[in-house]
Amino acid sequence: MIPSLNLILQSILDGVFLGFLYSLMALGLSLVFGVMGIINFAHGDFIMLGSYLVWILANNMRSDPSLTSIVTVPLFFVIGAAVYTAVIRPVLGKEPLIQIAVTVGVGYVLQNLALMMFRAEPRAVQTTYLNFYVGLSVVSVHVAKLVSAFLSLLIILGVHYLLTKTWVGLAIRATAYDREIASLMGINVGKIFLLVFGLGIALTGLASSLWMTFGKADPYLGSSFGLLTWVIIALGGLGGVSGLLASSIIVGVIQSLTMTLISPTVSLAIPYIAFIIVLWFRPQGLFGKG
Amino acid sequence: MSDAALLEVVNLSKRFGGIIALNNVSLKINKGEILGIIGPNGAGKTTLVNCVTGIYRPDSGRVFFLGEDITGKPPHLVAVKGIARTWQKIRPFYNMTVIEAVTAGALLRTKDVLKARNKAEEVLEFIGFPKSKFEMLGKNIALIEHKLVDLARAVATEPKLLFLDEVVAGLRPNEVDIIADVIKKINKEMRVTLGVIEHVMRFVMNVSDRIVVLHEGRLLTQGTPAEVARDPLVIEAYLGTKPV
């Protein structure tokens, strides 16, 4: 049975919207990696736990999940700052294996926290305002996905503006470039690290809120989003916003098409396979940092 | 290509993005000599060594060692061929003891761990590293001790050619003299040819038989220490550094 053109176009459109949200998820990771050289193994698990949190909040507030971002964003910033201070900062000078192990530990803690609180069951939010399709002539636009994509793009551009046009952003970029020189210029590198890590986690909080407007919370989100965001960064590089957006959209579309044309189960495995392939064929440059 | 040349570098070039680190550099290192390689920061000294030892692949040019073309060969093969090096930014084996670290070097030439360990002890004693500290972990020793262990580790691989990359950087004057003596010993008694990359003039002028000067990726001039010290081109390139 050959799928109709409509179906394919629909799939691509959904994939594009998804891609924007993915780029929001990847942005936090990219910032932390670019500025601190730390790879947060637990990044996806923050999104996972965040999604469950949004589920609780949205059901209690009886509102659309996107509104929970009022709570999740500042909360996750604080959580990020706390994790940085307690876990990341103490291991900054230590050998890489310990640094990775510590973030693996954080991820493990988050996963089991979710297991303890939610028994590994998927959860979807009851009250979503925009979880429906609007039919246009050729395709239907899923409004929640559209809004998430739009908000993601807005935030990404906002962060880009922050980085390029403000003093803080300049300080962040200087630190990313060379932290020794930055500190010699009077930049408080410790504070920058704290800020960036907090921001990175805050973005995951926002992403969780947006995801829950049409998605479900489940314990596997951690590893699949985690790997997805890494694929995106490996593909798009750490360069700039355009690279990030481009690779996110490609990934989103591929995943969406696989789900429609092959099967949902295979589409689940796509992030993992893509990750391994990307690692093999991506030029040395990215990993030369190690 | 002359018979005495142990290493010959021909028209070596290497660029990183927009920066040309090496620009058509050609030079020879003769068997048995101590060649000093000097030049201001960014002259391409370390890049040269990295290209010879296989860490970088040169963009163009060739590297010949004992007549064999070793251009672009990976570092471990270069070590097997007989070229060793020490590190500008120290690279200790933090969680291994001193004797273990040097044994790892000695294992290049023998499979037997016991033999390698004996060799490692010999080398460490030859270099003058105190026996009482053989069992100390890499993370617990001082900078001068790191340099000695680095030397020992490299020498244990029985190289014919040894590059020392700013080996006395960060050392006190008396420690510099210690290293200078050790190096001369290695050259004379162990018959190891040396390429000494250095900034500290007093040291490199002292130990070298011959000197090449690099500047902005190019070979500026070469000659005896005395000749090079007087050369106006060299003085100009180095404007601002301390006199010899």
């Binding site: 089991n112 391994i276 | 570092p75 294992l107 761990v113 580790r153």
Partner: protein
């Protein structure tokens, strides 16, 4: 190899067997405790295999249960469906896991993938196998039909399998100790400490990392059958990412490269897990695992060498006691 080295490698293993064999007697052959002892011994074996790639070679491998599952399920299904004895099956399991390790490791190491990227790749590997096995095996738990005898390595009570596992554990301990003192061990540790410096003294880092990986995977593929039998079932969930992380936790908490440390950590954590699961399992599933995560973080921050300094000192004391006693 001289006799002193031989005894250094062999004695600890022998000691483990002797002390271990006493355990079933000490617990009065209570099957709950014998099974617990069996599972602890299996866990220790897995962690000590991990020690080769993680502790010696310094690669944070998170795919242990990819290899355990693959080898173990192969051996088990061969027994269930074709009556193939696990004595052959376990070696076949070792072979298939070694092959997988080679197929994955060769390109990974050739492209110089290390650190976090390596960890992520191995995490991805386990999940891929997990997803693939759902498609192949279906979302079912497979119970192994009961057959008895040494031919099948299965018995009415757990002691015999436990004794066999003790021998396996002892062999793995000896292997670790042997590697530690051999050229491979020196080279792996150098690679762990500083790859660039290691290459400069002639070490072919790709070759040795791959060697460590294949040895590690082979051991896991071999043990897989024992693991599955001790769990009594297998399924797609045997390919467990979290369990693989747990193995790494043991390896790090025990102390990278410390045989005594990893051995101790495996036993201690298994017992703690069992205790916590018994008391709190119904109320708060996953609490013990959460605590282990916290433990990993704490060890990484406060005491990266893990238990090793404690256990190594203890091991040395035991060694001098035994040597002294043997001489009398």
């Amino acid at each position: 190899m001289d006799s002193r080295t031989l005894s250094s490698i062999g004695l600890p293993a022998l000691l483990v067997i002797l002390v271990g064999m006493a355990v079933p007697f000490l617990v009065g052959f209570n099957q709950y405790y014998v099974l617990l002892a069996l599972q602890s011994v299996v866990m220790a074996s897995i962690a000590l295999a991990w020690n080769i790639i993680g502790g010696y070679a310094g690669q944070l491998d998170l795919a242990s249960f990819a290899y355990i599952g693959l080898g173990g399920i192969l051996a088990t299904m061969l027994m269930m469906n074709y009556n193939v004895t696990p004595w052959l099956g376990m070696f076949l399991g070792a072979g298939i896991s070694a092959t997988l390790a080679f197929v994955i490791g060769y390109p990974l190491f050739r492209f110089g993938i290390k650190g976090v990227w390596y960890a992520l790749s191995t995490a991805a590997l386990v999940v891929i196998l997990h997803e693939v096995s759902i498609m192949v095996l279906g979302p079912f738990d497979y119970y192994i039909p009961f057959v008895e005898g040494w031919y099948y390595l299965r018995f009415r009570t757990w002691e015999n399998l436990y004794y066999f596992s003790l021998v396996v554990l002892a062999s793995i301990i000896s292997l670790n100790l042997y590697i530690s003192r051999s050229k491979i061990g020196y080279y792996l540790k150098a690679i762990r400490e500083d790859e660039v410096a290691a290459e400069a003294v002639g070490i072919d880092i790709r070759k040795y990392k791959l060697l460590a990986l294949v040895i590690y995977a082979s051991i896991l593929g071999f043990i897989g059958y024992i693991y599955i039998v001790s769990q009594r079932t297998f399924s797609y969930n045997t390919f467990s990412g979290p369990q693989s992380v747990y193995v790494a936790i043991i390896g790090i908490v025990g102390g990278l490269g410390s045989v005594s440390g990893v051995f101790t950590a495996a036993l201690v954590l298994k017992i703690v897990e069992e205790y916590l699961r018994g008391y709190l399992g119904g109320v708060l599933p996953g609490l013990h695992l959460l605590l282990f995560g916290v433990l990993l973080i704490a060890v990484g921050i406060l005491r990266p060498e893990g238990l090793s300094t404690l256990t190594d000192t203890l091991a040395r004391k035991i060694k001098t006691r035994v040597r002294g006693g043997a001489r009398e």
